[in-house]
């Protein structure tokens, strides 16, 4: 019971207290604990915990495959993907370079090299000829396997050149351009991640279509400001004249007047008068696209972003900040014990 109750609360309280008040103490050991050690301890713990997660993932997916549950081929793919990326990072180096230091006949070596660097023989020969004496030429893209690199070395040596194979150092093989891991990152992980993020565009469209309805006054405000932001933020908004927006405003006022008075004459007079006023003002000023500024979408968008939006964001941030602080204090003082199941 002590290990599961009092001890975790004591650890949370002591470490929390030191971390909170350590910020006000200029003692180097406490400072170093607060700034570096505490967070590094967490990172180390989290790094080891990843094994637990990985094992749990493999166990569940393997069970799905064995029991042939619904969607088991995806589980098989997940296991294969895990094993492949694990191997590319920890087991297979996947990055072997071929370096050419000497050659007797550049034309012969170029014949072999051309197909490796995807150039024609003449250009390849020119590259070799331009190489300074005593320098080496490294084929830019490394080979995934040792055998692949050695085959090319053999071919170049047979063509009268002197080539050798150099394996990339462990660790830097992750970031070496063209290595197996780097290839996986660029051509599998990158497009898959970008695809998932890109789905947002579609989901935003369908969510807006469903949710942006004029149900009440607040929803109408949300809808109007949403449309202004959407159009004002992109170049097309800058091409919509402020006068066009003014006409829309006049029509909206007309709709409001009609709902309020329910009198066709008053509505017609409001709309007609408004349109006439806007048109006369337009002719007098020469219809400048961005004037008056308060009806120009990019200006309106900027205003909404910088004023109502920032005001709301600040209020929410202060509230959330207080919430986080209060919750942290509750944990430090041991008032909140739900995280250990109490």
């Amino acid at each position: 019971m002590f290990m599961k109750r009092q001890l975790p609360i004591a650890i949370a309280a002591i470490i929390g207290f030191i971390t909170l008040f350590g910020w006000f103490v200029s003692e180097p050991n406490i400072k170093s604990f607060v700034d570096d050690d505490a967070t590094q301890w967490f990172d180390i713990l989290a790094s080891f915990a990843i094994f637990l997660g990985a094992l749990n993932l493999l166990k569940l997916q393997a069970m799905k495959v064995m029991k042939q549950q619904k969607g088991w081929p995806y589980a098989a793919l997940a296991i294969a993907g895990f094993l492949f990326s694990f191997s590319a990072g920890f087991i297979l180096l996947g990055s072997y370079n071929v370096e050419i230091s000497q050659y007797n006949d550049p034309a012969k070596v170029a014949t072999v090299l051309a197909s490796e660097i995807n150039l024609d023989e003449k250009s390849t020969e020119n590259i070799l000829m331009a190489m300074p004496e005593g320098d080496t030429y490294t084929i830019e893209t490394p080979y995934f396997t040792k055998n692949g690199a050695e085959d090319v070395v053999e071919k170049i040596n047979a063509a009268g050149g002197t080539a050798n194979m150099r394996a990339t150092e462990w660790g830097s093989h992750i970031s070496t351009r063209g290595s197996l891991f780097n290839w996986m990152f660029r051509f599998i992980f990158t497009p898959l991640s970008a695809t998932m993020f890109a789905l947002l565009a579609f989901f935003v469209a369908s969510a807006s279509y469903r949710a942006f309805k004029i149900r009440n006054f607040e929803a109408t405000l949300l809808l109007v400001s949403g449309i202004i932001i959407m159009l004002g933020r992109v170049p097309i908004g800058g091409n919509i004249s402020a006068w066009f927006i003014m006409y829309i405003v006049v029509l909206s006022i007309g709709a409001g007047v009609n709902t309020w008075f329910k009198n066709r004459t008053i509505t017609l007079a409001t709309v007609g008068g408004g349109i006439l006023l806007v048109t006369i003002a337009g002719f007098i000023t020469g219809w400048p696209i961005d004037q008056p500024g308060i009806f120009y979408l990019p200006v309106l968008q900027d205003w909404i972003y910088n004023n109502p939006n920032v005001a709301g964001a600040r209020a929410i941030m202060i509230g959330i900040g207080l919430g986080i602080f209060a919750t942290s204090i509750r944990y430090i003082l041991g008032i909140e014990k739900s995280y250990i199941g109490e």
Binding site: D36, S172, A205, R210, I227, P235, I236, V310, M317
Partner: protein, 281 residues
């Protein structure tokens, strides 16, 4: 008329897959047939440009890459545009990454801009310090002692052997800080643990979604300007006069936004027809 209203009501509960197809088309078509819409920089983007413009040749800029492949389409164009501007002005660029995949993004951007476009020399004009785990602890470490966090760069070279690292020991030694951020750790952590305590001039580039969260810091002057998503990148490209991926994506985004607005309006018409009918019966 009744049939038309029936159609509108039915269309109101349109299967979302039709919406997906329309969005896919309107995003794809402008990429093949560009409209060339003019780009107007916002005040926040202009501010970033002005701050960089005030830097002198030889000044030191710390650029942090905090994004991965998923947010690459939004953040990468602005990172590339900013690097172009910095190299154009012969500012020395130091790159750190708080995200592991940020290092890959940084390598790609440097290859494109520093090596291929400006022929800059590694170690003299720019250096990739690389990724270190620890989130905000890394920022705190950079503020107190950079040499403790980084003893070698991303290529394994000792910092003492890199010419442009001479005299660089902490964040205060830099003249400018830019965070290209897609989440945590990112802009907010840089403001809280570096820019505010040290007083270094800082700007940022974030995803469109994050702008709301970061805007209060911009308005209070803690961050000097923000590039928001792809429009921010396009605006910066237009400011430096070098059109890139951001600019080409703007036509697609413009048309997509118009179509979404059209969908919303149509959805509301359908909602009104349906409501009127339900009231009637």
């Amino acid at each position: 008329m009744e049939k038309f209203l029936d159609f509108i009501v039915r269309a109101g509960s349109l299967d979302r897959r039709y919406i997906f197809v329309v969005i896919a088309l309107v995003v794809l078509l402008p990429l093949f047939f560009p409209l060339g819409l003019p780009i107007r920089p916002t005040i926040a983007s202009q501010k970033v440009y002005d701050v960089v413009e005030e830097l002198n040749a030889g000044d030191k800029a710390l650029v942090s890459f905090e994004y991965g492949p998923s947010t690459k389409p939004e953040i990468h164009p602005m990172a590339v545009a900013l690097l172009r501007h910095l190299f154009e002005k012969d500012v020395k660029v130091y790159i750190t990454c708080l995200w592991p995949d940020g290092q890959f993004m940084a390598m790609e951007a440097l290859e494109q801009v520093a090596e291929d476009q400006y022929n800059k020399v590694y170690g003299e004009d720019y250096v990739l310090l690389g990724f270190r785990p620890g989130n905000e602890a890394v920022i705190k470490g950079l503020v107190s002692n950079l040499r403790k966090v980084f003893t070698v760069d991303a290529n394994g070279n000792f910092l003492d052997d890199i010419p442009m690292m001479t005299g660089i020991n902490q964040v205060a030694d830099f003249d400018y800080l830019f965070s290209a951020s897609a989440g945590y750790p990112g802009t907010v952590e840089w403001v809280q643990y570096a820019a505010d305590p040290v007083g270094i001039t800082m700007s940022t580039g974030t995803t469109s979604i994050q702008v709301n969260e970061v805007m209060p810091y911009v308005q209070s002057g803690q961050i000097k300007g923000i590039l928001g998503g792809m429009p921010g990148a396009a605006e910066y490209e237009s400011l430096i006069g070098q059109a890139g991926i951001g600019t080409s994506g703007m036509d697609a985004q413009s048309v997509a936004h118009v179509v979404i607005v059209a969908f919303i309006i149509f959805g509301n018409i359908s909602f009104f027809v349906e409501r009127r009918r339900s009231k009637k019966y």
